[in-house]
């Protein structure tokens, strides 16, 4: 039922004491070890030593993704690199990449927090856990892998790719817990149907899903088609990765691991706290991270805190599933993509800045990203072969920079304004 009951079911009063102690120590370490934060606190005229309550956190400046970019690669690390045992990173063009590091203790805590989430979703040491996240520089695969091993489960690091093989292994190895994006789970269900594999041939009991937006409709569909309990979990690499919050089997919101993360939900316009229970941007302060602590990191994810106690007994606060973004980031197959990354690639091509339109669709439970690029005079060629080569080279650059498959379509000038008169740069046709 619980992994670390003493923390998951802590009395609020004790939790707040622990949070304050950890917050004060974190601020001290940041203020003394990280020149960027020292400068930032000085500029904001905040004496971090004067933070004597959790509420006083609000006097501290925010940390943004731009701050992470600006200190690329190691500028925000709070320990020397020799104390760092793992480095993860987001994809992206130079200047848009974020790099995060973990100490030995960070990895241990991370594993425990992911183990909590898996345990609360129903997974135990007796389960066979198949992890179909991409293993690599993203935090999803390794993050969940370490947590599942910490829990003592038998872990199959299937990673992504070759869906038929994934299904065969799931059946033959008697996988009981599936960990992936919710759309991947539906994709698996589709391919099972196509290849005549019935869910009754599987041993699946639990599905622990995250890394992209989804909905109650999708939850029901996944649960029905795979015959499992489907739970949601949340994380982002800038703060740690998976393990920040996750649903228990009540499926009524994600318990936040508040003994390690202090959360605020703020009005995106005023950056003041929203009234209890209302939607705002999630802002997170890490309380135990050694190598890469952040204060008041603006996640840009929209959520709301849910009132009331959970029947599961956990006293940790709950948040709703992610309801959207307060910026233009797109999550395509679990990968975070910013339109600006695409714009930067296009601007690089022969120094022109062609108009473009990003179109996202979901076909057969798979996200498809299409970039339509207007061919200006500078780019135009009457040789079709040259045009193909141009499209191919744009595509190659985008695939390299974004880390996902992209379709590139060259279109004639003035086409885009006909498609979308409002001049939007992104059309997201997906429904969740």
């Amino acid at each position: 039922m619980y992994w670390q009951k003493q923390f998951e079911c802590m009395r609020r009063e004790d939790l707040e004491q622990l949070q304050l102690e950890r917050l004060q120590a974190t601020l001290y370490r940041l203020g003394t070890h990280v020149p960027f934060y020292r400068r930032k606190l000085r500029e904001a005229k905040v004496d971090y030593e004067a933070i004597t309550s959790l509420e006083a956190l609000r006097s501290l400046p925010f940390t943004t993704k731009e701050d992470l970019h600006g200190n690329y690669p190691y500028g925000l690390f709070a320990v020397p690199l020799r104390d760092v045992v793992r480095i993860h990173s987001s994809s992206g063009n130079a200047g848009m990449t974020t790099v995060v590091g973990y100490s030995k203790n960070d990895i241990k805590n991370w594993s425990d927090l992911v183990a909590r989430i898996l345990r609360s979703a129903g997974v135990t040491a007796l389960d066979v856990v198949q992890i179909a996240y991409d293993y690599g520089i993203f935090t999803g695969g390794l993050g969940l892998h370490y947590g599942a091993e910490r829990l003592g489960a038998s872990v199959i690091p299937i990673s992504s790719g070759n869906i038929k093989r994934q299904i065969r292994i799931m059946r033959d190895f008697k996988t009981t817990a599936l960990i992936c994006t919710p759309s991947h789970a539906l994709k698996l269900a589709d391919v099972m149907m196509d290849t005549g594999v019935n869910s009754s041939e599987l041993s699946l009991k639990y599905g622990v899903f995250g890394a992209e937006p989804w909905s109650e409709t999708m939850r029901r569909e996944i649960a029905d088609r795979l015959g499992i309990i489907a739970t949601d979990n949340y994380g982002l690499s800038e703060v740690m990765g998976p393990g920040i919050a996750g649903e228990c089997r009540e499926c009524n919101g994600l318990h936040i691991n508040e003994d390690h993360f202090l959360v605020e939900v703020l009005d995106t316009a005023t950056l003041e706290p929203v009234p209890p229970g209302e939607v705002g941007e999630l802002v997170i302060t890490t309380l135990t991270k050694e190598a890469f602590p952040v204060i008041r990191y603006r996640t840009r994810d929209l959520t709301r805190l849910l009132p009331g106690a959970c029947p599961c007994g956990r006293t940790l606060a709950r948040m709703s599933r992610i309801l959207g973004r307060s910026d233009d980031m797109l999550i395509i197959r679990g990968v975070n993509i910013f339109p600006a990354q695409i714009q930067a690639v296009l601007a690089d091509i022969d120094g022109t800045e062609p108009s473009y339109l990003i179109v996202v669709d979901r076909e057969n439970h798979e996200d498809k990203l299409t970039v339509m690029v207007e061919v200006t005079e500078a780019l135009f060629s009457d040789q079709i072969r040259k045009q193909w080569a141009l499209a191919a080279s744009i595509q190659e650059r985008l695939v390299t920079d974004l880390g996902i498959q992209v379709q590139v379509k060259l279109v004639e000038e003035k086409t885009l304004e006909r498609i979308d008169s409002k001049g939007r740069k992104v059309i997201d046709n997906r429904t969740f």
């Binding site: 004790d14 102690e21 370490r29 004067a50 320990v79 020799r82 203790n105 050694e290």
Partner: protein, 241 residues
Amino acid sequence: MLKIRNLEAGYGKLRVLKNVSMHVSGGEIVAIIGANGAGKTTLLATIAGLIRASSGEIHFLGEDISKLAAAKIPGRGCVMVPEGRQVFASMTVADNLILGGHALSRQHKKDLSRLLDHQYELFPILRERRSQLAGTLSGGEQQMLAMGRALMSKPSLVMMDEPSTGLAPLIVRDIFQIIVRLRAEGNTVLLVEQNAKAALAIADRGYVLETGKVIIQAPAEDLLANKDVQRAYLGREKLEE
């Protein structure tokens, strides 16, 4: 059991403790480690009421004891084993122990002989030496006597200030094993130690003090694995080249 928030204390104008927040739960051994002058002893002395806090809260079993006179605090169940033992040299071992029981409530006073027996069981050497003057004991024996004396009042929390000071490594090991046994018997211990390695080896959690501030609080095993702590307090760093 003990909950401290934003404690500030010092000597005259010298601010030694800066915004210290910490807690001790029942049944734990909590270690406070740090260099000389980091504020460890000042922290214990402030909890014990020997130094007045200039601001902040000290809640012990739900009561704010930050304004209580030092003499009242042991009666609340919070006793200190001071650095350098400070046993009464010209009294016998048995009398030292009995003196420790003076803070017992009347109904517990009748338990005195049973409590005395329990200390002798914990520290067999004290039984052997019970008629000897405390001043004739070795350093390690005096440390045991000081601990036994503190335990005679059936305290809820035992605070120990540098119990390893001036003791041979083998004796230190004995003393620390007794502290572990105290926890097993349901006692709660707040341990201030320069010998960070020995203290963290037996503690559940630890706080690292640096110039009067808590720079990290974590489970003891995490502190042992923390490279900053290793470099500063454990006198080693495994660098595999």
